[in-house]
């Protein structure tokens, strides 16, 4: 069994803000049933651009549920500009840390948030426009490059922990390695 922090366990056992918001200002979805986890994030945003309410529906393991609960707690009362700045690290930190192999749960939170905010603005996210690298988990090169940059990922294992990419059949591991190298060379 994983060594979860007390806060992860507490948020898992007593998750905050479970449910849907009818007529939500924005909804962001990430994950799928085949991937093993999925989060649907609902935001209620008022005319001043402040997140008045946040709720979630999550399918997934303990850390996925705890990350969703944490994210909704963090979001309430924030302006959109403040919400944009929440990173997956912030979510993990709020929970007293996550096992490295479970970091993808915090990334899922951040990605659902990005999608909700983009939907609110009526924009599309650029990541999905990239080329799919990991077929098992449907992850594009743009998503991988972004995660490598933002989290300073060093290895394919790191990428799998944060994005799941490469964690299925493993056929894309070489491509992921190339992407990491490209990012590192540019830095």
């Amino acid at each position: 069994m994983w060594e979860y922090s007390e806060k992860v366990k507490e948020h898992f056992m007593n998750p905050r803000n479970v449910g849907e918001i009818e007529d939500a200002s924005a909804v962001g979805e990430k994950g799928s049933i085949s991937c093993g986890d999925a989060l649907k994030l609902y935001l209620q945003i008022n005319d001043d651009g402040i997140i008045e309410d946040a709720k979630f529906m999550t399918f997934g393991c303990a850390s996925a549920i705890a990350s969703s609960s944490a994210l909704t707690e963090m979001l309430k009362g924030l302006t959109l500009q403040e919400a944009e700045k929440i990173t997956n690290d912030d979510i993990a930190e709020y929970l007293g840390g996550l096992p490295k192999e479970k970091m993808h749960c915090s990334v899922m939170g951040r990605q659902a948030l990005e999608k909700a905010l983009a939907a609110y603005r009526g924009e599309d996210l650029p990541e999905k426009e990239g080329e799919v690298v990991c077929e098992c988990f449907d992850i594009t090169d743009r998503e991988i490059v972004k995660a490598v940059k933002e989290n300073n990922l060093e290895s394919t294992d790191d990428v799998t922990c944060f994005l799941k990419a490469g964690g299925g059949c493993g056929n894309c591991l070489e491509k992921i390695e190339d992407l990491i190298r490209t990012v590192k060379e540019k830095v």
Partner: protein
């Protein structure tokens, strides 16, 4: 809080009688069985007795039993020995749902130049016998197929498989780690050349196993060293654990009828009650051809680790076929080979019972689980809440 342990396919408690047998052999009778003096010689005598008891458990002769460190070592020894005995042959047949001890060994052997056929299973986990017979070739060095599956409990037609292999003169090994002690396993009833078993699955301690090698089957040692185990497995014997395995084998013979009646009854009660009380739940595996102690049950739209953590707080120890518990990201290879749909594969839980479980414990599990399933479903985006009204 009391612990309700229903994870006996993972490991079992050391039976009190087993521990009692073992204890004097740590610091009282600590002699080396290979020594000339009587102090060591008495230990050798106990090992002989243990060998007789372990042999009796599977219907073998004592000299056909090699003690090893675990089931995995037995599997490795068997497979490597068979390959070494037929160096010109480069083909292995196994199943797609083997334990990693065999499966990962086979993938390693592929890198060493072997061709491996992974015989598929159907959606109920049944071995595809036709596929198997069509895979047999003059180049096949070994057929290695498990007796019973650890995750679903599905029992394979090992007798038919062994006979088919024997017809072609191909040696047959079976990983019987999950079958021994749960259903009758008798090597006299089928042409099996090698059979692996593990101590800690039958109430002996961890760190001891055995490999049956049929008289007349060529054997090349896996662990090379001293003359122990008649030169077939080097290394000073794990004396206390071997004595424990002997005692556990004796107990397993005694317990076997109760596994088929009492344990089966408890398993069926748990399984039927859960199926009745939890909608959108389903059994993974052929219910008719299954170990009497195992149930793998999938709950739609929720994830296994979440279920396990909730029941863990309630003192219930079980396993999951889901990805998240193991650190891998996909459901178990067994459920994937069976093409169990993702919606239930991720939410699959395995309960595996032993003679030490009670009906009260089954009732406790059957009462504890449904509210947990409901709680998790109520937060799942894939759960249609209309289902609850049914």
């Amino acid at each position: 809080m009391t612990t309700v342990y229903v994870d006996n396919n993972a490991t079992t408690r050391v039976a009190p009688e087993v521990l009692d047998e073992m204890l004097p052999y740590f610091s009282e009778y600590y002699g080396n069985p290979s020594s000339v003096h009587a102090f060591g010689g008495n230990v050798a005598k106990k090992i002989r007795e243990a060998r007789e008891k372990t042999a009796a458990l599977v219907g073998a002769s004592p000299e056909e039993i090699i003690f090893t460190s675990c089931g995995t070592e037995s599997d490795n020894a068997a497979v490597r020995s068979a390959l070494k005995s037929a160096p010109e042959k480069k083909h292995i047949i196994t199943s797609a749902v083997e334990h990693p001890a065999v499966l990962n060994l086979c993938t390693a052997l592929e890198k060493e130049g072997y061709r491996v056929t992974y015989v598929p299973v159907d959606t109920s986990g049944n071995f595809d016998f036709d596929y198997f017979t069509q895979s047999l070739s003059d180049d096949t060095a070994l057929v290695t197929v498990m007796w019973a599956n650890n995750e679903t409990g599905v029992v394979f037609p090992v007798k038919d498989i062994a006979e088919k292999a024997a017809e072609k003169g191909i040696p047959f090994h079976t990983d019987a780690v999950q079958a021994v002690g749960k259903i009758p396993v008798d090597v006299r009833e089928l042409p099996v050349n090698m059979l692996s078993l593990s101590g800690h699955k039958i109430h002996a301690p961890k760190g001891v196993g055995a490999l049956y090698v049929k008289k007349g089957t060529r054997f090349h040692p896996f662990v090379v060293g001293g003359h122990q185990e008649s030169g077939r497995r080097g290394g000073t014997e794990n004396v206390a654990s071997i004595i424990g395995l002997g005692k556990a084998s004796e107990l397993a013979v005694d317990h076997l009828p109760r596994v088929d009646t009492d344990v089966r009854h408890m398993r069926d009660y748990l399984e039927n009650t859960l199926l009745e009380t939890v909608s959108f739940s389903s059994i993974n595996g052929n219910r008719e051809r299954r170990l009497p102690n195992t149930v793998s049950i999938g709950f739609d739209a929720i994830e296994g680790e979440s279920i396990l953590m909730h029941i863990d707080y309630a003192g219930i120890c079980a396993s999951s076929g889901s990805a998240c518990t193991s650190g891998s990201l996909e459901p178990s290879h067994v459920l994937r080979a069976m093409e169990v749909p993702f919606k239930s594969a991720h939410g699959s839980i395995r309960f595996s019972l032993s003679v030490y479980n009670t009906m009260e414990e089954m009732k406790y599990i059957a009462e504890t689980l449904p509210p947990i399933i409901r709680k998790l479903r109520m937060m799942s985006p894939f759960w249609d809440r209309c289902n609850d009204k049914a």
